[in-house]
């Protein structure tokens, strides 16, 4: 786990630390790849997203604050928050946003940066679920529910399995548990596709950064 510079937030109004600048650049690269990502600067802080979010009550930073904090130059804190891992992708905020900001997709972008940077809140292993899931897909081509949950809980909180024994038994008794994973026939084809696609997702020098920064209108803040 990477620890962030405690001064990662804005040093002074309009002046960002080096870490914050790097994170901001990564985030801008990510949002540039979301259709309409630049609409982020249309946010009027109305709070419709927070009011629509089914899990905002459990968040430490609400969806509205996520956008405000990004503007204030505190991406480091956003990445350490519970918030990005609490989003269940229900898209209610995205549906209702009067500025048509793709809030759910922005949160996905933050999750990807957090995983890339290795920044996670302590004792909060949600990202392990996503990573275990992707390993399953590479291995079998399909998601294997039993394997996914076993690996997830053994790797994070083994007591979670104990707590779920009744649920597991009930599902098994009703013929809803598969004891062996399905493997697709042409797994090699899928692996080739994944390997090729991964080359586009690896961190690389983005030539588009200037364009993005200008489009979002934050270039002066970043200096």
């Amino acid at each position: 786990m990477k620890t962030l510079d405690p001064l990662a937030g804005p040093i002074a109004p309009g002046v960002l630390s080096k870490t914050e600048q790097e994170l901001r650049a990564a985030f801008l690269d990510e949002i540039d790849r979301i259709p309409g990502g630049a609409r982020l600067n249309q946010c009027i802080q109305c709070g419709t997203c927070t009011a629509s979010c089914p899990v905002s009550h459990a968040m430490d930073i609400t969806p509205r604050q996520v956008i405000a904090m990004f503007r204030a130059g505190a991406i480091g804190e956003l990445l350490e928050s519970r918030t990005i891992w609490l989003c269940a992708s229900c898209y209610h905020c995205t549906l209702r946003c009067p500025a048509q900001i793709q809030i759910t997709d922005l949160i996905y972008a933050l999750k990807r940066i957090a995983i890339e940077e290795g920044i996670f809140p302590k004792r909060f292993p949600v990202h392990v679920m996503s990573e275990t899931f992707t390993r399953n897909v590479k291995r079998y081509g399909r998601n294997y529910e039993v394997g996914l949950l076993l690996r997830y809980f053994l790797g994070t909180k083994p007591m979670g399995l104990f707590a779920r024994r009744r649920a597991g038994y009930a599902l098994w008794r009703h013929g809803r548990i598969k004891l062996r994973p399905d493997k697709i026939k042409d797994i090699e084809q899928l692996r080739k596709i994944i390997a090729k696609a991964e080359t586009f997702d690896l961190p690389q020098e983005k030539v588009t950064r200037e364009k993005v920064t200008a489009a979002v209108g934050y270039e002066s803040i970043g200096r």
């Binding site: 259709p35 549906l95 949600v126 598969k178 994944i194």
Partner: protein, 302 residues
């Protein structure tokens, strides 16, 4: 009328959502439409892949679209997450030429290409649009009058695309359908709220709260079953009865798939539509939540 579809069951329908798979096949067969399972389909990527790698998430999902284009039939994806992931991939590639070029290059590495010619559709919309309520009523053999369903749409089929129902905030398509089939759907305000999804594993306290709320609403509105369109919603709501332990009769509410209810109406047997897989039984042999027993027999007059 095109009555042949490419069926994309997705991983859940081969395991926890097996009743959805059975009822899908039974209903489409009964209605004379062919569901041909997509040959060698892979995982859609769901919400998890998008959290890790974006282009890979699109490419994994796009392999399915590329395979489906070999027959050219519309893809029917019953699971909300699969429906969303496949549709999002198709729309995302169409909207973003740079992404499309990258995904196409990745597919080419596996010897595939995608021209985005096939539509991705949800079975609720297929049954309502291609088959239509009049034909379903015509095919009906059993009354659903014992059913007072709380029609639960959840999240990813109604938004952000809104292709399944014209109103993403207050969809009524299932209510209209089941009213036409003789059931008495209850007013169910939280019908588009989130069930918690994968938070059930990662943050169970939050997910339980969301699922429990949905069950409480259904009970308060005197529904005698909840009807869902998604295997994860079904599992989450069905498991609430088990995981919260000893919560008594107040939460013993059966959670069915909409295709199971349609199947029962058009004369499929309870086994054919997978009623035996429900944790909270709702067949003729078990008492439902309060009130009169649910029976699925009793054929329509005439």
């Amino acid at each position: 009328m095109d009555t042949r579809y490419t069926y994309y069951p997705g991983c859940s329908l081969h395991a926890t959502g097996i009743a959805y798979d059975k009822s899908m096949r039974a209903v489409f067969k009964k209605l004379g439409s062919e569901l041909a399972e997509l040959e060698d389909w892979n995982c859609c990527g769901a919400t998890a892949y998008m959290s890790v790698q974006k282009t890979v998430a699109f490419a994994v999902s796009a392999r399915n679209l590329a395979l489906a284009e070999k027959t050219g039939d519309d893809v029917v994806a019953p699971c909300s997450a699969c429906y969303y992931a496949l549709k999002h991939t198709r729309e995302g590639m169409a909207a973003d030429p740079e992404l499309r070029a990258q995904v196409e290059e990745a597919l080419a590495a596996g010897g595939l290409e995608a021209d985005l010619s096939v539509e991705v559709r949800h079975p609720l919309e297929v049954l309502l649009t291609d088959i239509g309520i009049p034909r379903l009523v015509e095919a009906q053999t059993n009354s659903l009058e014992q059913f007072r369903p709380a029609c639960y749409y959840g999240c990813q089929i109604v938004r952000p695309f809104g292709a399944v129902d014209e109103d993403p905030e207050l969809p009524m398509s299932m209510e209209n359908l089941f009213t036409a089939l003789g059931a008495r759907p209850v007013d169910y305000p939280p019908k588009v709220r989130c069930c918690g999804g994968m938070l059930v594993a990662t943050m169970p306290e939050v997910a339980t709260e969301l699922s429990m709320d949905l069950v409480d609403w259904a009970v308060a509105r005197e529904a005698n079953c909840i009807v869902t369109v998604c295997p994860l919603c079904q599992s989450n709501l069905d498991l609430i009865n088990v995981t919260t332990g000893g919560n008594g009769a107040s939460h013993q509410i059966p959670v069915l798939y909409f295709t199971q209810l349609i199947g029962l109406a058009i004369g499929c047997t309870p086994e054919e539509v997978g009623m035996q897989h429900a944790l909270i039984p709702s067949d003729a042999h078990a008492p439902p939540l309060r009130g009169a027993p649910l029976t699925i027999a009793g054929s329509r007059e005439g």
